[in-house]
Symmetry: C2
Subunit: 406 residues, 2 copies
Amino acid sequence: MTDSWGPPDRSVLRPVAGGVTAARGFRAGGVAAGLKPSGRRDLALVVADAPAGCAVTTTTNQVKAAPCVVTEEHARNGRARAVVVNAGNANACTGDRGLADARSTAAAVGARLGVDPTDVLVLSTGIIGVPMPMDRLLAGIGPLVGDLAGDGGDRAAEAITTTDTTVKTVAYEVRDDHGTCTVGGMAKGAGMIEPAMATMLCVLTTDAPLAGAVLRPMLRQAVARSFNRISIDACGSTNDTVALLASGASEQPPGLAALQVAIEAVCADLALAIVRDGEGTTKVGYLTVRGAATEEDAAGLARAIAGSTLFRAALHGADPNWGRILAAMGASSITFEPARVSVTCGGVQVCRFGVATAFDRGQAAAAMGRADVEVVVDLGLGRAGTTFLTADLTPDYVAENAYYTT
Amino acid sequence: MTDSWGPPDRSVLRPVAGGVTAARGFRAGGVAAGLKPSGRRDLALVVADAPAGCAVTTTTNQVKAAPCVVTEEHARNGRARAVVVNAGNANACTGDRGLADARSTAAAVGARLGVDPTDVLVLSTGIIGVPMPMDRLLAGIGPLVGDLAGDGGDRAAEAITTTDTTVKTVAYEVRDDHGTCTVGGMAKGAGMIEPAMATMLCVLTTDAPLAGAVLRPMLRQAVARSFNRISIDACGSTNDTVALLASGASEQPPGLAALQVAIEAVCADLALAIVRDGEGTTKVGYLTVRGAATEEDAAGLARAIAGSTLFRAALHGADPNWGRILAAMGASSITFEPARVSVTCGGVQVCRFGVATAFDRGQAAAAMGRADVEVVVDLGLGRAGTTFLTADLTPDYVAENAYYTT
């Protein structure tokens, strides 16, 4: 089922443990600073042993959280030493105070580590519009630095979760004729997920020796094909951030092509994990739109389908109600010819050239009853296509989001 | 609460009974033709006693149902005699066969009434992608014509409902210094409601003596301010149609300004009724965006908020989680300045100049617990604004839409 998702050829990769500390040259940790009402771990830190190359992407939402603004500033020189991440409070819609709080956080981490504050990236997730409880956050930084370890990737990954029910870490060793290195990462997701640039908090590390200028286009491509191709609830966030750090600890790294595959695979796996663990989610829809004039058209139409509450409810109920797919595409601004469209749901062709096939509704419903459902829409217009992931819409999603702050 | 919705001055109007048969010169009826599995009324007819002026608006969805195509053709000359409406089958995504079926329906009704088939408008609603059971529909036309009566508006309105739980009719007598006439209408709604031109099936009648060329701009303005300003689930339909017929039976009609107020009031009342009866809906959100540079910007941002499943879930849970409002606006393509935005929820100011006020969360939650919740967003940019209606997102909506065709 995942053949349509992520890099098609993973032969250069081998999965390894450790998440953000799988690559050499990094330590990480996670502690409970009292930012989550539950008292669970909520403050994470990833530190490179020496100055690392870095690239970041942050949300394109006009309402950009303070940590996104500060992280963009600090990453502009393509170099970083540390990434501090908190859950429980997004530090968004917090005005000048929010910006000052994000800068204070970087300064406090920098002072503890003995590095320049501008080499510290700051990521936040949680409730919007509430000032960060800085006393608790700052008090947590000492214990957090004390928790740093070469095998701390899992504790860090646990600390960045909010409504997530799973800890999301991935790492691959990548090897080609030139050499080898490791790419790993951690992410959090669950709700307000339709990344328009990157998704709610992801930290990637590699021991490849690459500068920011090289990392940026590689990260941009990987994000475009992974985090920017998923939607849980079509709600774009204020805090989306992906940060990639390269320590250079690998002395004989592979070529850039193999490394790109590894970065894309880590991003694709984490993006899939986010959708699978979406708020209330019981199944993942793999929406492939092909036969399009351009990949952008295919992605836009897939996004329109993924954004349809009616389609997502039908996905939940295993209802092969393909008319909702065409209606959602038709309401978008991307033009196509309805009479050329064919649709398969779970391998069953339900629509051919814009009209119903003589499909067996029970067979189609059974095919859509599986945990992963592949929907393929062929526009019959061109040769471009892409795959987009979405989650089903469930009563649990509504229940979880009806009383989030009360 | 409804002060922000519909024409501000209704002093020329007086509500009357009868729906589409309130205006003189019209008969209507509704019968059960076996198109709904429930066996309830599913075929409606509205007939003008003499040739009537007419105007229609249909969906802008690229996947346009066959009856929309045929109705646009038949209304092009600005004249009509009858509107036949069926529920239970949308005749959408049905290809050439669907077009032929819609034309056959108009021909059969025309033959029974002794009028030209091109003077018959055809409206359909129900499941997409399934051929119309023409044998049953055609067999119902004889009894349907037999059911026509000068007080048949309520039976017709009942016959066009699908998942609606209420029958939606409105009529006003309008009077000014020049004279008087009546404007009435019926509509159906419930799901797949974010009209991009008109909404799922609405028939309006008046006894004013107006030609299609005069009616068209009046209808366009009324629809722009009513049906095009509501969303239940942000899902644009394939079948949206509003048809307005003017019999001319009023011998001393009011002026156009008063008539415009009446048409807008009927459209606004029906649009509100549709949102209030949205699938799973328990409350209506009145989203007013003001302080905008243009009315289009205000409407676009209101639509973005209404399209956010997170905002709609918070509306359901009476959660004053205003960060979701800013996040939804920020993810739209309409630019604004977050630091100038102020928000009130249920009369409680929760955000001022982009950051939280020191509001009482319990008081705000109580204000949002009412059946109608007014949310006012002031952009602080200009003097334009508009109000948009949305429904809360509930577990019942998901349950209702998960198994629609199975």
